[in-house]
């Protein structure tokens, strides 16, 4: 008796859980041929996990329902050197993971793989997206279960991961600052050299003009 009540209770809570997981996620609308890109500026050796879920507008029921089987999303990830590091097609619900090997701006682009333009029925596709970077990508419950950590050990582990992320970011910051300094110094050099060169050109042109005109007028017997 108690076991049955317990089971139904667990089931109802599970359903509520599932309902909330469907609902509480940031979403946006994407057109049929539209490509939406997101930029993540990250240090190297950082893991990124992206979860997405799509819903299609059903005209009959006038609400958004999970998309049909054939409709999927094409995910493309480019690294800072514009090299494609992930290019795959996933279903209407997907999860993509990648680890950065060079620090910098990575671009994550999503677009639907729909070839039949009538599939969207003039509406939009609703995409729920969640991108977790670095320390946030860690699944602590899994780590705790795998390494059999107590609560205190898990907390300390989380702190270690956070400090790791801060350290990587600081390293990346140093690399970026160096690039910034190089750009500023290059601008400085360019301004200096071009000013000198332009002054020289000006003086040379002036001298050439006067000499040329003088010889021209002398030839014409006007001077």
């Amino acid at each position: 008796m108690a076991a049955v009540r317990m089971r139904s209770c667990v089931l109802s809570v599970l359903l509520l859980n599932v309902f909330y997981s469907f609902v509480s996620s940031l979403y946006f609308h994407i057109g049929e041929t539209e490509k939406k890109c997101f930029i993540e500026e990250i240090p190297d050796e950082t893991m990124i996990i992206g979860n997405y879920r799509t819903q299609l507008y059903d005209k009959q029921r006038e609400e958004y329902l999970p998309a049909t089987q054939g409709l999927g999303m094409f995910v493309e990830v480019k690294d800072p050197d514009d090299k494609v590091i992930l290019s795959r097609q996933y279903g209407s619900e997907g999860r993509f993971t990648f680890t950065s090997h060079t620090p910098g701006e990575h671009q994550i682009c999503l677009h639907s793989n729909s070839s039949k333009f009538s599939l969207f029925a003039g509406g939009m596709l609703r995409v729920h997206l969640d991108i977790q970077v670095g320390e946030h990508a860690n699944n602590y419950a899994e780590i705790a279960a795998k390494d059999k950590l107590t609560e205190l050990q898990l907390r300390v582990r989380q702190l270690v991961e956070q400090v790791d992320q801060i350290q990587k970011e600081q390293n990346y910051q140093r690399y970026r600052e160096e690039r910034f300094r190089q750009t500023s110094e290059s601008t400085n050099q360019r301004v200096l050299w071009w000013s000198i060169v332009q002054t020289l050109i000006l003086v040379a042109i002036g001298i050439w003009q006067m000499r040329h005109l003088k010889s021209f007028f002398e030839a014409k017997k006007l001077v």
């Binding site: 809570v13 859980n17 946006f28 997101f38 500026e41 609560e151 907390r155 750009t183 290059s186």
Partner: protein
């Protein structure tokens, strides 16, 4: 969200209830490109009573400003700012439903912008939901919690610093290319103008000579 399989159903039930009571969290942090004359909206379903924070910053593009608007499920505008570079807005959800926030670059004719936003809903989920939630945290655990909060704010400051640095760097790189192109352009203009001056002067005197000879004969 992950679902952890525990041994006993009692623990599972407590875990689920703990998750439910703590409120579903989502901290979404995204950087996206907003083309000129475009508007991009994001939606999120929020439960009543949740404390939320929306923070945005324009990273690159034009005058580094964007229009932002936040609406509640009934369409009432909770926050509206035009041409802002950076702002942070905290509110408590007064209604259940879908909240919508939009970024608009419709005032710009040809510059596209990169916008970063961070939308925090509720608090972070508990790290290790377990049965002893009712007992107070030990000294070690509360020290860990305070260090965790401090490190979270360090990471937050780092993010803002990174965005400001990206802004500064993009301006510096723009300046560098502009200086290069303008210097070359100016040198060419200088040469062309001076040579055409000489040629024009020569042509004035050549014409006068032919007319005088024709009149003479």
């Amino acid at each position: 969200m992950c679902s952890v399989m525990y041994g006993s159903p009692r623990v599972l039930l407590q875990v689920l209830w703990a998750q439910l009571l703590c409120g579903w969290v989502l901290g979404s942090e995204l950087t996206f490109e907003l083309p000129d004359n475009a508007k991009q909206c994001f939606y999120e379903d929020i439960i009543i009573g949740t404390k939320c924070t929306l923070e945005f910053q324009v990273v690159t593009g034009g005058h580094y400003d964007v229009d932002c608007r936040l609406e509640d499920p009934d369409g009432t505008t909770l926050y509206k700012e035009m041409k802002k570079q950076y702002d942070s807005f905290t509110f408590t959800a007064a209604k259940n439903g879908t909240y919508k926030f939009c970024f608009s670059n419709e005032f710009s004719t040809f510059t596209h912008k990169t916008v970063y936003f961070d939308f925090q809903v509720g608090d972070d989920p508990p790290l290790f939901p377990n049965e002893n939630r009712v007992t107070a945290l030990t000294q070690m655990e509360s020290a860990c919690v305070s260090i965790h909060e401090a490190l979270k704010s360090v990471i937050d400051y780092q993010t803002h610093f990174r965005l400001r640095e990206a802004q500064g760097r993009s301006r510096a790189e723009d300046l560098n290319t502009r200086v290069a192109f303008w210097s070359i352009g100016e040198a060419i203009i200088l040469l062309v103008v001076s040579i055409s001056q000489v040629v024009l002067l020569r042509s004035f005197f050549s014409d006068k000579k032919t007319t005088t000879t024709r009149v003479g004969s």
